[in-house]
Symmetry: C2
Subunit: 105 residues, 2 copies
Amino acid sequence: MNLNQAARCLEKLGNPTRLEVFRLLVRAGHEGLSVGEIQDHLGIPASTLSHHIGHLVNAGLVAQQREGRQLICKPDFALMDGLIDFLTAECCMLTGKPETQRDAG
Amino acid sequence: MNLNQAARCLEKLGNPTRLEVFRLLVRAGHEGLSVGEIQDHLGIPASTLSHHIGHLVNAGLVAQQREGRQLICKPDFALMDGLIDFLTAECCMLTGKPETQRDAG
DNA sequence: ACGATAATTCTAGGATTGTCGAAATATAGG
DNA sequence: CCTATATTTCGACAATCCTAGAATTATCGT
């Protein structure tokens, strides 16, 4: 995870609707949720939701797989961990977390 | 830190230039850096840099204080910690980190 | 007051984003 | 094939963002 990759992820999560979608998917866990189920939770027009999910998929934060007529969305936990690792390592104090430090810069 | 606050911080950090500014300030530590020093590092026009710093200040991620002719910028470490806590608690697996969990919801 | 330095505000342009109805595509079942 | 369901793509519009030169404000030293 480099700075530009991180910025891209942060940009996508930096929209209230998308952050809510992502949080919903994280809470759903490895089973994921269909687009329609997400829509039931958020109550926004399908085209708007599809637009936002497209952004998340494009950034790699969400993966989709078809199951019959439904498209199941799942968060990429590893990428999210990578993002948090980046923020912790590059944009935090690191005080009291020496094991996270990389080169004692 | 609620979802909208988090989204606002993420949005501001989700721009490569601003993320680089913020990382630079974090690396500078509690002493901070003047706007001019940041400009020396990044090499972008003063008005563009000022615009981006304004965004970071507006979101509370960066604080400024004047020292003579210079404006010193410092990151708000506590807010950044709060953001990472939010992401860890609401947008992560939480597997193997039970002490980070808040209410086992 | 004057000149130099530090940084912001003004202004304007093109680029991108967010929204959502309408139309189109994909799948399932009879 | 026809109908219903699930979701995306298209199209349009307003709103916001990014960039950066020019002008302005703030501070310091003399």
